[in-house]
Amino acid sequence: MSTPIDYLLHLADNAVVLGQRNAEWCGHGPILEEDLALANVSLDLIGQARLLYQRVAELKGGDASEDQLAYFRDAHEFRNYTLLELPHHGPLVGYAAADRDYATTIVRNFLYSALMVLVWDGLQNSADAGLAAIAAKSVKETSYHLHHARDWLVRMGDGTDESHARVQAAVDHLMPYTEEFWTTSPAEGAAVAAHVAVDVWALRPAWDAMVNDALAEATLSRPNFHGYVTEGKVGLHSEHLGFLLAEMQSLARAHPDGRW
């Protein structure tokens, strides 16, 4: 059975969109060490995305390329989780603007990395040898991302009243978006059937244990959630993805095939 390309795009788009978001901190980090850390996390994520896009291009053949996949697809063609495209702050009304909030950044990186260490770990046994090789590298990198985000989650949660309140607000805001992890999209279903993907549902108890353990150590509470489940991974995105892509893609589109 052939490798489901949409599943590889889901993994690649997750990595590139979060990599682009985290890179917004470059030059604006709260402290120099964190500026460097986020830039390094972004480099890893963009590196993972490149390897995955290269694998997709290889499978598609023709004139498919990593650049075409990253820069010349529009928002509805992206298959990333909605969680990863949200700006670095809580919900706003209308045209309101806000500063980037580091608590939001850390909580998102924690929730996503906690999932991805499990996903990459499982994907090392994927029937697609190309994906298995990428997973074997990515699991090592993602372990460090998780370690970094978890440290800050605990430090801020168990820190001052201000840091506790901000990181709790970020947990309350972002946790509902993680419900999207546990629904099965057609691409995921096909990839699981082909033994290319891991069944994410089976990873949920381990993810819950990781999240609950970290939240407890950080003296944070886990919100209950019942409501709308986002569907970014089937191409139904929030209004934020278009702006993110506009910034990421504009240069490549203004100067196609440009080199320096």
């Binding site: 964190e34 480099l43 890893d44 040898a129 460090y144 970094h148 440290d151 244990a209």
Partner: protein
């Protein structure tokens, strides 16, 4: 090993890492194989971190050296088996230490249980490459590059990089 592959090994031996010029690509485990394939010579390299920005430079350096030598060889990037700091030679680790970078510890045996992700791993005890003290603390999980963490020595007060096990 054929004479042609020996010549290529000898020529590439001297190439160093663009970020850490005291160690060679071969010592780091980036330069993997030189093969005398039926369709010509082939040089196999493997990336360190997926996003390491030095990889493009490394590939260019290998190609330039081959061109200097007048050897027509393909440069192939292979991901599997994944690069690990355990491939680094003892000589390379000693050079890193002398350069002021604490060399990577050996990776623990792979643990198949998912439980290893759940608890926060204990921080490595890393000796200061300047004064040798083991009273050091991690300042940041990410240092000047993705492959290094930033540490500080509590005795000599110097900051230093630790090459993380990968």
């Amino acid at each position: 090993m054929s004479t042609a592959t020996e010549r290529v090994w000898a020529a590439l031996e001297a190439l160093t890492d663009p970020e850490i010029p005291v160690v060679t690509l071969r010592e780091l485990g980036i330069l993997r194989e030189v093969n005398d394939a039926p369709d010509g010579l082939e040089v196999v390299i493997t990336p360190t971190y997926s996003g390491c920005p030095a990889m493009g430079q490394i590939e260019d350096d290998v190609r330039a050296r081959l061109a200097e030598l007048g050897v027509a060889a393909r440069v192939v990037t292979r991901l599997s088996p994944p690069w690990t700091t355990d491939w680094m030679s003892d000589a390379a680790k000693a050079k890193l230490h002398a350069y002021g970078i604490a060399p990577p510890h050996t990776r623990p045996a792979p643990d198949v249980s998912v439980m290893r992700f759940i608890k926060r791993p204990a921080a490595d005890v890393v000796s200061c490459p300047h004064c040798g003290s083991s009273r050091t603390v991690v300042t940041s999980q990410f240092g000047s590059t993705a492959c290094k963490a930033l540490y500080k020595c509590l005795d000599c007060q110097e900051p230093f990089d630790y090459f993380k096990p990968y």
